[in-house]
């Protein structure tokens, strides 16, 4: 009994270590689904996993960086993304310019993410730098996303191999008696890993978004007078169009292969049970794989617009929620990404500036498609399966439980291995829960101050977001970039579509009704208290007897931070949502809209000084109203 209990405990511990989503991750997911990025930042900051050997180290920072960007705070995101960048660049690329997911450095083994996560992270770093107008750094980051991929080829039907097919090939390679390359020495590595290390071809990336982002960064640098950057930009844009065309053709071929396969499986000689299971999977692929006939053509049109230079504002728009990672097969030894319910498809994004006709933009990146492709996944689960389950079991089909056939000889094998081994073999399914399903890159021209941009994906009304108060860019490059996370919800949020700025802030130069008093005194101004801001209040007849020092002291009495956050700081919640920060998100982001375009409850004063002054302000207002002179 004691032995059984011990085994049970070991099984539970091993299962936990295999990496289910932590409660905090799920909390952050719920907050992101509601667009509450301030709460998500709070949930993540101060609780980051500091253990570099843990996957949480990367994934928690990924989430924190993404919610800071979504909240329009690129400066706050900088330390996090710089840390991520350093992790991704450690050792970096392999001899054949592919990437690896795990690095052993100075005896510390740490995780760098699946290849598709690494590529996306490099682009998010580029986005953060571009939002800070560091276009050369954005170029560096985007260029790093264009590493080569490990392609293990296609199966006999012409479809790209799955992970379990690759596992079978690895086993077959190992058991093949025919002459092979010279055995590696023990120092060089395990001979059993030969196929996984050498059985692939280094293939060109299919990351269209990376090429587009790299092209944009080069194009902007080219506007500052460097003709080599203009040339490099055009090359990157052309590459994006070529890859999109190639992927479109491949998807068409895959569909034909699936249809052929279904026909064969339904033939008279097919094993009925196997045919049904396989057919279910492939038909699901067909229905989920909505290939738009014009998809490649739309990317070509986008490239044409980018090469023409007819833009001064780039929007990077994230939509939906990306695939989740699940374990499958015998003992959950393998892992795969499956699309989240309801987050599929590739409808274009509509983007309109003020009352101009909208621009239709195709998705530049579909994470469902990327994560399904073995070239964008690592082979860690295959190695683990071989290591824990043994080659013999895999050869017997133990690792290919997806077929549902029990050819394993499992009983004897598992009794030999022990229950704890089964749990240890389980694939690690921890991943970033808040990655989007698709990403769009939208080039627009903002020519008037305080313009409004309206975004919507296809017919999804819940995705609609109205972004008011966007000015044309300033600065030498005359190009600005904004990242927008469309709230991944199925319920439309009023604040996302209101389109009116309700609180005066440091990112908006226009007037707002009620901005003649600070929010802490019952008004609608959340600007930092400066002499200019005080002058504005006093020109409206408010706070006439206050000096700037008096005004600033009121904020300090309330515990409100007055020093603008530099790149090293992570602001807390904004005063409008009950926090102590006055840092304003950039105009043109979801963070700006969720804070300044919806009503907030009045602030309850904490200090006697503010309470006294509020009372006086209310009395003055009442007196003015009585005289019919209130604003």
């Amino acid at each position: 009994m004691i032995a059984a209990r011990t085994a049970g405990v070991a099984l539970v511990a091993a299962t936990a270590a295999a990496g289910c989503a932590k409660p905090n991750d799920r909390l952050v997911l719920r907050q992101v689904e509601a667009g509450e990025y301030g709460q998500a930042r709070e949930a993540l900051s101060g609780r980051l996993d500091e253990n570099r050997t843990s996957r949480g180290f990367l994934y928690e920072r990924m989430m924190l960086g993404l919610v800071c960007l979504a909240d329009g705070l690129p400066a706050a995101a900088e330390p996090t993304f710089d840390e991520i960048y350093e992790t991704l660049r450690t050792q970096g690329i392999n001899a054949d310019k592919t990437v690896a997911s795990v690095v052993l450095n100075e005896r510390i083994k740490f995780w760098k993410g699946e290849p598709f996560e690494q590529a996306l992270l490099f682009v998010y770093v580029a986005i953060q730098k571009a939002m800070m107008n560091e276009w050369d750094n954005a170029r560096a980051a985007a260029a790093n996303s264009l590493f080569l991929l490990k392609d293990f080829g296609s199966d006999p039907s012409g479809l790209s191999k799955t992970t379990e097919q690759i596992a079978r090939d690895a086993v077959a390679h190992e058991q093949d008696p025919s002459p092979k390359k010279p055995r590696k020495t023990k120092k060089q590595g395990n001979q059993g890993e030969d196929y996984l290390d050498e059985g692939y071809e280094a293939a060109e990336t299919t990351f269209v978004l990376g090429y587009l982002m790299s092209g944009v960064a080069n194009a902007v640098l080219g506007r500052e007078g460097d003709p080599d950057r203009v040339k490099e930009a055009d090359e990157q844009f052309d590459k994006a169009a070529q890859i999109a065309e190639r992927m479109h053709r491949r998807e068409q071929e895959d569909l034909r292969a699936i249809r052929r396969g279904l026909g064969e499986l339904r033939g008279p000689d097919a094993d009925e049970a196997a045919a049904r299971r396989a057919a279910d999977g492939r038909e699901a692929s067909l229905s989920q794989e909505r290939v738009l006939e014009s998809a490649a053509g739309d990317i070509a049109a986008l490239v044409k617009r980018l090469k023409s230079g007819r833009f001064n504002t780039i929007f990077i728009v994230d939509y939906g929620l990306g695939p989740t990672k699940e374990a499958y097969g015998m003992d959950g030894a393998f892992s795969r990404f499956v699309q989240r319910c309801g987050w599929t498809g590739r409808e274009p994004l509509s983007a309109a500036v003020d009352d101009r006709p909208p621009l239709s933009v195709p998705a530049a990146c579909d994470l469902n498609a990327m994560a399904r492709d073995h070239r964008w996944n690592n082979m860690e689960d295959v190695r683990r399966a071989k290591s824990y389950l043994g080659t013999a079991l895999l050869a017997a089909g133990a690792g290919v439980a997806a077929s549902g056939r029990d050819e394993y000889g499992v009983g004897a094998g598992m009794m030999l291995m022990g229950m704890a081994m089964k749990a240890s073999a389980r694939a690690d399914t921890r991943h970033c829960l808040i990655l989007p399903q698709r990403v769009y890159l939208v080039p627009l021209n903002i020519s008037r101050p305080r313009s409004t941009v309206t975004l919507q994906v296809g017919q999804d009304a819940a995705s609609r977001m109205v972004l008011p108060g966007i000015d044309p860019p300033t600065g030498p490059s005359r190009v600005q970039l904004r990242y927008v996370r469309l709230t991944p919800t199925r319920l439309p949020a009023d604040w996302a579509t209101g389109g009116r700025i309700l609180y005066a802030n440091d990112q908006h130069g226009g007037r707002v009704a009620g901005d003649d008093l600070p929010f802490i005194l019952g008004g609608r101004c959340v600007r930092l208290p400066t002499s200019e801001v005080l002058s504005h209040y006093q020109q409206a007849g408010r706070l006439m007897d206050l000096t700037l020092a008096d005004l600033q002291n009121l904020y300090r009495e309330e515990g409100i931070e007055l020093e603008p956050q530099s790149a090293g700081g992570l602001p807390g919640r904004h005063v409008l949502e009950g926090g102590d920060s006055l840092v304003s998100p950039l105009a043109g982001t979801a963070g700006f809209v969720r804070l300044f375009c919806r009503e907030h409850a009045p602030r309850r004063p904490r200090s006697a000084a503010v309470r006294t002054l509020m009372k006086r302000v209310r009395e003055e207002r009442a007196a003015l109203a009585g005289r019919g002179q209130d604003h």
Partner: protein, 163 residues
């Protein structure tokens, strides 16, 4: 690149520019009564595959300037180094302004710039990055590059990787 790399680059370039100025170079014919030469310092342009922070980029230029005999250049050659107006404003806001950074006359006649490039090579279990750092002083009136020099170095990153 590491902090030591930045220190090495800035020290190397500063030494070479000082030697050029002391040995004549593009300042050979100048005297104290010549028309003032105002050299505006730009931050480093990064064309490598590494990210360089804003402070790092300004540091690399400021460090070069600090290694020069600024006082004697001003007295003997009527040469001054200034920083761009935007950087000046930022420095003032942060209380980091130095007196010599805000001369009365800020009309630049020349600009000192630097561009960093890199090439990455991978063999075996190492990645090697080759860096090429190019500094120049350009006459804004004629567009002529009156001085240029470069530093090259390489760095290797190591660690076993696998999938």
């Amino acid at each position: 690149m590491t902090v030591d790399d930045y220190e090495h680059i800035a020290a190397e370039i500063g030494t070479r520019l000082s030697a050029n100025m002391a040995g004549g170079g593009f300042l050979a014919a100048r005297g104290p009564n010549d028309e003032k030469m105002v050299i505006a310092i730009q931050k480093v342009q990064n064309l490598t595959n590494d990210i360089m922070s804003e402070p790092t980029r300004w540091y690399l230029m400021a460090r070069v300037r600090d290694s020069l005999p600024v006082g004697s250049l001003s007295r003997e050659k009527n040469v001054a180094f200034v920083i761009p107006a935007e950087r000046l404003r930022q420095a003032r806001q942060r209380g980091m302004l130095r007196e010599e950074d805000a001369p009365m006359d800020r009309r630049p006649t020349h600009v000192m710039s630097a561009t960093f490039r890199s090439v990455t090579r991978s063999t075996g279990r190492e990645r090697t990055d080759l860096y090429y750092c190019d500094y120049a002083i350009t006459d804004l009136g004629s567009g002529e590059v009156v001085w240029t020099d470069k530093v090259e170095f390489k760095r290797a990153a190591s660690g076993r990787t696998w999938d």
